[in-house]
């Protein structure tokens, strides 16, 4: 081999504590090194040009660059050597900046260490082989999981971009949490009025196939070619016939059915349509309360249905869809706030969640938009809002901030004043977090224009008294004195957590999730939309708490990623993947058991079972390589011999 070594000064970043010229001199003594130099800035245009020139002049077939971290400039120098006609994998880097010059002052030790790191790189390189990427077709369809505002945005943007979209929503209607909101901050405009049109667009868009009341059962395949199994849960109503006229819901005798859409603030019928603007506007029977399904006698809805859409014997259906990319937008749920026994733990009817309060405020809610408290239907005069219930609270395992509670609490305080002019609102808060456009101004309006009283402190206890009022005990940490407020209604700003079933979905998607169930992005700052599974993107709160504008933005961002991915007709697979030496493979199956991506399958070759790597699925972790006892499966670019060469370079006594 003919290796060229380039020891970068990085100005004084490296040269300051490493004798680069000496390192280059030592490098010249290494095997196969035929050229070594120590340029000022290797990554700069002249530096790269020098590398290309040296490759031509000295007929190099491998290059070692000793400079900053490969995580920084490996792609740069791979392109450099490629321009000069070398395979991009015939480059190795020695990190002598982050790992040497920046962490030690001792010139002698640093120089010696740098020289050794260069030696490692040379020894590794001597075992490198050119690797070629393979290309494969892309199925230009996208699956969006979750029909909340983030999912809707992603679906619409993709669809507008000409990409067929499969939208899967767990509930009977899309719209997610936003559809339950009365108004939105900081503009106090009607949630339904701004979300509604988008929902209708989804229903009407020729590029969007919507599966409501459905869930993702299984996902296999890889970027460009996923196969998705979708479970269409039984609605007992043939939606192809249902017109959403609502005749059934009027006549249904099971009127005591808890109303999930209204956050259980009211009741509905066993057969129901979630809300007037529901998309799809179709009826669904709740089998736990339908008399026909429970006792086998009733059948009223079937009688009244003008189109004969009721099908009591309907069963779940599994549908298979082929897509090339997936956007996860599964949103959130409220944490179980009943753990707060000091707040009644859900036993006091007049201590409710903020989302329930939204329904009380909403014209389409159970009270028709008139704020009545659940216990006796009286209009509350004193309303206490308690923030950070299940946020920033280690004691209940929720150390993070839910982000938008400060804002909607201010909004709800303002709306309360609008609904009940002679009412008085109190807000217990820890800190007010209003970092958005017009946000802080908004909270100030709540205090200054609407006279909401903000008390900085946590509520220690809430208990009912004889005359049906709640006593809220807390402390004003600014005045440093305890406060006690009589409230007709207490609204808890309950913190959010990843929606139920997120971990299970993450495992189907083969992406990772944090200890609260939020999906992990590729890079917390620089890749907030990507995941570590190629072709799978994130939108909305499923990745971390955010408000509506941020969710919509990420929905569009995810769509942009999908469209960018689909802008190519073929994808290139990373050649740094495992390869099986079928002569050595004894088909013991250990690699197949371990592979986190299901990327290894057993095939029969001339009557013998052998392991085979599915190139497009393999992510290149190398777990199989360290699992295979006979070393028959080797991870390209990190083979046993390559790593052993490095170990031997360091340990040779």
């Amino acid at each position: 081999m003919r290796i060229g070594v380039f020891i970068c000064h990085c100005g004084s970043n490296i040269a300051g504590t490493v004798d680069c010229a000496k390192v280059a001199a030592i490098a010249r003594t290494y095997p196969d090194v035929v050229y070594a130099d120590d340029p000022m800035y290797t990554c700069a245009e002249p530096g790269q040009a020098a590398i290309e020139a040296a490759i031509h002049e000295h007929k190099l077939d491998g290059v070692v660059v000793a400079s900053c971290s490969p995580r920084m400039h490996e792609p740069t120098f791979r392109r450099t050597v490629e321009r000069a006609g070398l395979n991009r994998y015939m480059l190795e880097m020695a990190n002598i900046r982050e790992h040497v010059s920046w962490i030690g002052k001792d010139m002698e030790a640093n120089t010696n260490k740098a020289a050794e790191l260069v030696q490692l790189a040379v020894e590794k390189l001597r075992n490198n082989k050119p690797l070629m990427a393979k290309s494969f077709d892309v199925n230009k369809r996208v699956l969006v999981i979750g029909g909340g505002v983030a999912g809707i945005q992603a679906a619409l943007d993709c669809a507008d971009g000409g990409v067929p979209v499969v939208l899967v929503e767990r509930e009977a209607t899309i719209g997610g949490k936003m559809a339950k909101l009365d108004k939105t901050f900081p503009t106090v405009d009607c949630s339904a009025c701004i979300l509604g049109p988008k929902m209708v667009d989804v229903a009407q868009h020729s590029n969007i196939t919507l599966y409501a009341y459905s869930e993702v059962e299984d996902i296999s395949g890889y970027v460009g070619n996923f196969t998705v199994k979708i479970r269409k849960r039984s609605t007992y109503v043939d939606w192809s016939l249902c017109t959403g006229c609502g005749a059934c819901t009027e006549k249904c005798p099971a009127k005591k059915t808890p109303d999930a859409f209204n956050e259980l603030t009211g009741t509905t019928t066993a057969i129901t349509i979630a809300f007037p603007q529901a998309i799809p506007k179709k009826a669904v029977i709740n089998p736990q309360f339908c008399r026909q399904l429970l006792k086998g006698k009733c059948g009223v809805c079937a009688k009244v249905c003008p189109t004969g859409a009721i099908k009591y014997d309907m069963e779940d259906e599994i549908i298979t869809e082929e897509v090339g990319s997936i956007v996860a937008a599964t949103g959130y749920d409220l944490m179980d706030w009943t753990v707060y026994k000091e707040y009644g733990g859900g036993t006091y009817p007049d201590v409710i969640t903020s989302l329930q309060y939204e329904r009380l405020l909403s014209a389409s809610g159970p009270t028709g938009g008139h704020v009545k408290r659940p216990s006796d239907g009286r209009e509350p005069k004193n309303i206490v809002f308690v923030q950070c219930v299940g946020s920033r609270d280690k004691s209940v395992g929720r150390p993070y901030c839910s982000g938008f509670c400060c804002m909607y609490t201010a909004k709800q305080a303002i709306l309360t004043k609008d609904h009940i002019p002679d009412s008085k609102s109190f807000v217990f808060y820890m800190d007010i977090r209003a970092p958005g456009k017009m946000y802080d101004e908004f909270t100030r309006r709540a205090m200054e224009e609407y006279g909401t009283e903000y008390i900085r402190g946590r509520v220690s206890q809430i208990y009912p008294d004889a005359n049906g009022q709640m006593t809220v005990m807390g402390v004003d940490t600014l005045l440093g004195q305890p406060v006690e407020i009589k409230a007709d209604l207490v609204v808890l700003a309950v913190g959010v957590e990843a929606s139920k079933g997120s971990p299970q979905l993450a495992e189907k998607l083969r992406i990772s999730y944090d200890s609260y169930g939020f999906f992990m992005e590729s890079h917390v700052k620089l890749k907030p939309v990507e995941t570590n599974t190629a072709g799978v993107y994130l939108a909305g709160v499923c990745q971390g708490v955010k408000d509506i504008p941020a969710s919509v933005a990420q929905g569009s961002a995810a769509a942009a990623k999908v469209l960018a991915l689909f802008s190519k007709d073929k994808l290139e697979s990373d050649p740094q993947i495992a390869q099986v030496d079928i002569r050595r493979c004894v088909n013991c199956g250990k690699c197949i058991r371990c592979c986190p991506f299901g990327a290894i399958k057993e095939v029969e070759i001339r009557g013998e079972g052998k392991a085979q790597v599915i190139e497009t699925v393999c992510q290149g972790c190398g777990l199989c390589t360290s699992t295979c006892p006979q070393g028959a499966i080797q991870l390209s670019h990190a083979t046993d011999n390559q790593i052993l060469a490095e170990v031997n370079a360091l340990c040779q006594c």
């Binding site: 050595r584 013991c588 250990k590 058991r593 006979q630 070393g631 028959a632 046993d640 052993l644």
Partner: protein, 226 residues
Amino acid sequence: MTIFALPCEGTLDMARVNQDLGRYTKIDGVTYDEAGVTITADGKDHRFCMTDYAQGKCYGCTTPSAVLADTLLGQPVKVDGAAGTPPELALLDSMSLDERLAFWRGQMDRCLRCYACRNACPMCVCRDYCVSDSRDPHWMTQEDSAKEKLFFQTIHAMHLAGRCTGCGECQRACPVGIPIMALRQQIARAVAQLFDGYQPGLNPDEVPPLLGYEVVEKNIHERDWK
């Protein structure tokens, strides 16, 4: 596959039997009694009582009857108590780290790399493709240093981690009597301690511990770096 089994009452440690038989030209015969055998060699009788001359593994054996069999004849054997530390491991336990190094140095010196240990091992599935003599991957050289020989024993032990059932064939097969079982026994002890007393070879449906994982490991704890 069909498995036939009889309850086992123990097998002889032929290494020690031969030690005590000494030099003889031929075995005239063997007579059995309840507790042992009498080997007649060159007309001389030598009595070997099972309790004194069984293989090391037999003393701590908790599965005298097959754990899985299609035809299992005879009565199951009663076993009291759990196995203690096997003899080879107990020997190593009694030494300091430096002594252990010196011990392996002394033992490995006489290894001829005949690989009887490997080929007698029922769990060595690589067979003709062992990394011990491949160039790609190139884990080992052909040098006859104690280091290379001990490294091979480590390869074997690690490849058997969580799989070795302690049948002891590796050590029995070793023509120069190197107590290599100790290495497998140490791993077996670690595996049992880490994975709730897991013992290989008791349940065909179990996943070998090193081919699986728990998100939260009960017995593995992150160290602090204070």
